[in-house]
Symmetry: C2
């Protein structure tokens, strides 16, 4: 059993149940057979099918876009209502579904797989994340901003066209408060940031390292909760994703693309989710917390034990999956 | 948005995305097409294929069993090793996979669906849980005991023959500590148990109630994280599952069977997980905590937003799904 130092949750690494890394390569036929009803709302030419855009990257002198963002047509949260809590009979606490839910279309190409995108395309997407992050953190009610991507039906996507999403909430998720608290406790004890320490440790040990760039390391964490869980963490402390320079975002694009290509080739384009872990806005993140990216391929099911205990059973050794990923060639 | 009073996690009830309850009924063909290699180790006659049994219920004067328990052949945790922690370079905390992992075969009938079991059969299973719970809580190293059932491939089962599992850990899951703390905080403020208060409230309001028995209520909680999430909670305070009388366990069997039948008929035998939430052993549960059962059908996928925020997006209104379930007939 291994302890995640950033959540203090235990993980069971079930070596006796473990499969060889290549056994996780998945079959792809039919996985994306999502019944499409009518034209794709994310494709060029269908822009009127989406709500008015809040962001686009366009080539100079043309009308064609590379990246577009707009409010989700079926939002989980909206700007209707307010943030006042209602408390009925002591136990029933609720508020309006107040917030923002946006879609970021990553490319005009309907069937471009993430593992086949160029560094420039990935950078365009990351820059769009940053622009929306900068714009939305100005909202006084904002208590969390989650930027994430679901790839593949098994990862919760209902549309094939590559897209990311952004959800801004007016309540602070307890899960993020918990991560902050664990990072603060570590900081109080050591005077250092637990994420920076992890990045340095993994870069130094190398056994769970996938690759590194000038400014980032990508690794399968010691207490990975699921096979091929991948973290991309800045090597040096960074005040916030919002303030990251174009060079930093470009460097992240390079290493993220490398991970996406390796997953695509090594595991045959698996379903996955990734999330940018940006911390709690306005909580003075600069010393104890460090933004990073977490990616989890959907290769195994969680079950009743995870539901009851919060402890994951991971059927793969991170050291073995990392070695497998290091050996996947990227041209 | 609604706040779960037992975890203090928010849930988004996405009414605009909601489907009608009957839309969650699933197609069943091929769902259980688990490639079986050779004979079923859980079937009568194949007892030698399993490790030596630790429990069985047998009919008097016969050799045939109704329920059997034995160590898992592919255990997540074993009695090998010890509970000493290793801390490498500050951040890499681990210990041996020390613990117990058992299987409880619920019936001799290979293809008996949970929704077709009799009250007597369900009671046999619950009695077996209680016997193993009583036996294992004597272990001095025990820090948590998770009893759970995975039904269907989408719920993480690899074997069709109906079975439950039990995992005993030598570490306290942070998730259980958190639940204890929330219940303690509620107790300190009110002098009452949050689970008892919830059971009384749901029985009284009735809008999210499925059914009730002499001693239990079954309902879809106000802040349900997923469609048709079902809780079964004792009406009156009970010191512990271990001390529950045969009458109490029999009463629980009746209401659990009713839920299983309603799920089977109303949603066409969906995959599900349930877990007995027994609290932390030896933490003086008696006043602030109340054991209960939580069941979650696997009808929707979680995705990047849940992974990043810990907030679930539930696409069904608990009041509507509860009404649907109340109307499913049980003969």
């Amino acid at each position: 059993m291994r302890l995640d130092p950033t959540t203090r949750e235990w993980v069971i690494i079930a070596a006796n149940r473990s499969r060889r890394p290549h056994d996780f390569a998945v079959r792809n036929e039919g996985r994306f057979a999502i019944a499409s009803e009518g034209p794709c709302p994310f494709c060029p030419g269908n822009e009127t099918m989406t709500p008015p855009e809040v962001l686009s990257h366009r080539d100079h002198g043309t009308h064609s876009w590379r990246v577009r963002a707009f409010p989700n047509r079926f939002p989980a949260l909206t700007r209707d209502g307010n943030t006042l809590r209602t408390q009925e009979r002591g136990l029933l606490v609720s508020l309006d579904g107040f917030g923002i839910h946006e879609v970021i279309v990553e490319t005009p190409a309907h069937d471009r797989m993430p593992g086949l995108m160029s560094v420039e395309e990935v950078q365009d997407v990351l820059m769009a994340y940053q622009e929306r992050f900068r714009a939305l953190t100005k909202e006084s009610w904002l208590k969390s901003l989650i930027i994430f991507k679901n790839h593949g039906r098994g990862a919760g996507t209902s549309l094939e066209h590559p897209h990311s999403q952004l959800v801004a909430t007016a309540v602070a998720p307890r899960h993020l408060r918990m991560r902050q608290q664990v990072a603060l406790d570590y900081y109080d004890t050591t005077g250092r940031c637990v994420y920076s320490d992890l990045a340095l440790l993994e870069a130094d040990m190398g056994t769970r390292l996938i690759c590194s760039s000038d400014r980032f390391v990508a690794f399968h964490p010691f207490a990975s909760s699921r096979p091929f869980e991948t973290w991309i963490v800045p090597k040096a402390h960074q005040p916030s994703f919002s303030d990251a320079s174009t060079e930093v975002v470009g460097d992240l694009a390079g290493i993220l693309r490398m991970i996406l290509v390796k997953l695509h080739r090594g595991l045959n384009n698996p379903d996955f989710n990734y999330v940018l872990d940006l911390g709690l806005p306005g909580s003075g993140n600069s010393d104890h917390y460090l933004w990073h990216l977490r990616l989890v391929p959907r290769l195994t099911e969680t079950a009743g034990f995870e539901m009851g205990s919060g402890i994951y059973i991971n059927t793969a050794l991170p050291e073995e999956t990392a070695e497998f990923m290091r050996n996947v060639r990227v041209d």
